[in-house]
Symmetry: C2
Subunit: 408 residues, 2 copies
């Protein structure tokens, strides 16, 4: 016990030093670093004055909500669907998700709408639900995907459950990729769910491997094709973390008939998305091989950052029973679980010591982590040296908070 | 009468010739011609690898719903407001209008929502109302703007009227610009209207002069500032017909407090608009002088097209009491009124003879032109020769339909 007290005191001194140092570091959002963005600088200017498509369409002019054929083909390869099932949106797949939910709301009218949310998950999915007053029901996310037994039970018992949010590959924040079996079960789920049930398949990290042989996610659309449930599938993706985070293009795939219905909905509010930028992306990324080669360059930049964070966690926290974390094979986050009840305290301590972390609870609906233990670390944006400084602060915060709780 | 019968027969023969010729011409939508789009080809590549703003913001990365300061300043000059009152959106001001109406809907809840629509007007404004189940009440649009006496009476008698759609400069389709007096009256209207009344000031043709000294539209925001009604002002504009029709940037201006509320609403559905394209536009257009110089080049291209249409109308239809039309000083349309009841017939005849025209009624709410007489001609998109061919068909259709009706 004296040893622990001594360690506590030592950590407290270290913590005070950091507080006095007035650091300003940030591990919050999953943003690409400037060096990653540099990889796509050639996007601007790539058209060299050629704005016409093979079919004669002038991308500079109005029209065409579904996007240019060339970009729909790129999206099809990206997302795992046919080009007829894919539309290409603007710079935000999040916006497409919002619009799709809005599009469905009248079809869901007459009952309280509920969504399933595998947790921990992506806060902006939850925000969309809150905006539309959609009740969120959490289900556990295991290493191979959501607890499908629970998903099946819930949707078959309650027809008011109209959707489920999934990040099926390198999930935000836990980095898990759904297994083949889970994907196949997802294709079957709409059969036991209420009318107009939708699987929101946000494949945000479809091509974002941190290892050379990344995880293989089977195509939900293919599985749904066999199961006859493509109407219930809404797959999403974007180039936000491929090219420019604020100026990429987005993809949405569903059955052709549901795509036509969504197109009609969108026609009330727009004439079309930015086709010039779609063409830029086609010229720049070319096809799935082009994307793969491009993503390898991203990997070279961000892999050392993930390794740094993991090494420091390993070095300072392993075997102490104070935290557990994942070693993601792709995606943008490291998800760390503290001892129950300590996430808020640790995040607040880190803030006092100059390191901003994603708010506690952000990875749960309504911002409420029932065990108050999940912390999402985003290593990509800071430079390596900053990242190391931030982890120098964060790691003792975890230990100190754990000791404080233990010794109090 | 025999003369008229002879003329009718002659026109019928001519018409039949056109039908047999199988032409495929189009005078429907207000799209820029390829030659106009060429004026902005340098947009792509203009950044030359420089993506950082003076303030250090990297436009390639996430964030900033209100847009980059440089583009907000450009928008302020464009739209007649201060940069703090302006946000910069994506490629569609129509989308901003839709989103703003959606944003207001909860504030308008609890009563049937109604909008005033000066007619003839822009069909896509009406589509937004229909989508949100907003009842549309028409008011006459005079040469100097809407009938303000009627507007005032209506809004003061019915608190359910929550908005009015205006295209205050070179209005679509009549080409009228609101007078100083009308603009000042608009600034006062919210004082006699119900709660949360909004003037939707769609300044789509703010800089689109067809004459060297274009119309001057006083700033509604300035007038509203004096009247204390800036919260009720929503001004809109875009570069769709300045740079690329499908890949420009859009502007929305309102009071800073209302802008903050709208920003909060948008934060539920997006992280930000495309800032790279905003920066491209700033570099390309620079400021209001830059815009002016650029628009002069547009004028050189489209003025001859308007002149051609007007000359042909003048030559073939003047003095026959069969049609009246405007000679716009700017904008994208020529609005033609036939004898009452004939618009549908003429448009259908033109279609049979190979010339596509905007559907009858499109310029009125619910697609219903009460007098069935308004036809919107859009001369910008076709080449001069095509335009002439289209008018060669259109003009006899007007005369023939008029004679048919007269002689039946």
């Amino acid at each position: 016990m004296t040893d622990l007290r001594a360690r506590q005191s030592e950590l407290q001194d270290l913590f005070d030093t950091y507080v006095d140092a007035g650091l300003r570091l940030d591990l919050t959002r999953g943003k690409p670093a400037a060096e990653q963005l540099d990889l796509s600088n050639d996007l601007d200017g790539i058209l060299e004055g050629f704005y016409l498509l093979q079919g004669g369409t002038d991308v500079r002019n109005y029209g065409g909500i579904l996007g240019i054929p060339e970009a729909r083909q790129l999206g099809a390869e990206f997302i795992g669907a046919t080009s007829e099932q894919v539309m290409v949106g603007g710079n935000s797949s999040l916006n497409l998700m919002y619009q799709y939910v809005e599009h469905m709301m009248p079809h869901w009218r007459g009952e309280p709408v509920k969504f399933l949310c595998p947790v921990p998950g992506y806060d902006r999915h939850f925000t969309i639900c809150e905006h539309f007053d959609i009740e969120m029901i959490t289900v556990p996310l295991n290493d191979d995907g959501p607890d499908m037994q629970q998903v099946k039970e819930l949707v078959s018992q309650d027809a008011a459950i109209k959707g489920i949010w999934c990040v099926p590959k390198y999930s935000n924040p836990t980095g898990n990729t759904y297994s083949k079996e889970i994907v196949e079960q997802f294709a079957e789920i709409p059969k036991v769910a209420g009318d107009n049930f939708r699987v929101f398949w946000d494949n945000a990290y479809a091509v974002h491997d941190l290892v050379e042989q990344g995880d293989e996610l089977p195509s939900l659309m293919t599985a749904a094709g066999k199961a006859g449930t493509t109407d219930s599938v809404v797959m999403l993706g974007s180039t936000s973390k491929v090219t420019f985070a604020g100026a990429g293009i987005s993809f949405l795939a569903t059955s052709t008939s549901q795509l036509a219905a969504f197109e009609k909905f969108l026609s009330n509010q727009m004439i079309g998305f930015d086709k010039v930028n779609q063409l830029r992306h086609v010229r720049f990324l070319k096809d799935s091989d082009g994307i793969k080669a491009h993503m390898a360059k991203h990997r070279d930049i961000i892999k050392p950052k993930f390794e740094l964070v993991l090494n420091m966690l390993e070095k300072h926290l392993a075997g102490k029973n104070m935290a557990s974390w994942n070693s993601p094979r792709g995606g943008y986050f490291i998800s760390l679980d503290t001892r129950p009840g300590l996430a808020t305290t640790i995040i607040s301590m880190a803030a006092d010591a100059g390191v901003k972390l994603t708010p506690a609870g952000a990875t749960f609906p309504y911002g409420k982590d029932p065990e108050n233990k999940n912390i999402r670390l985003a290593p990509t944006f800071p430079e390596l040296a900053e990242l190391e400084s931030a982890m120098d602060v964060f790691v003792p915060c975890v230990e100190l908070a754990s000791l404080n709780a233990e010794l109090d």
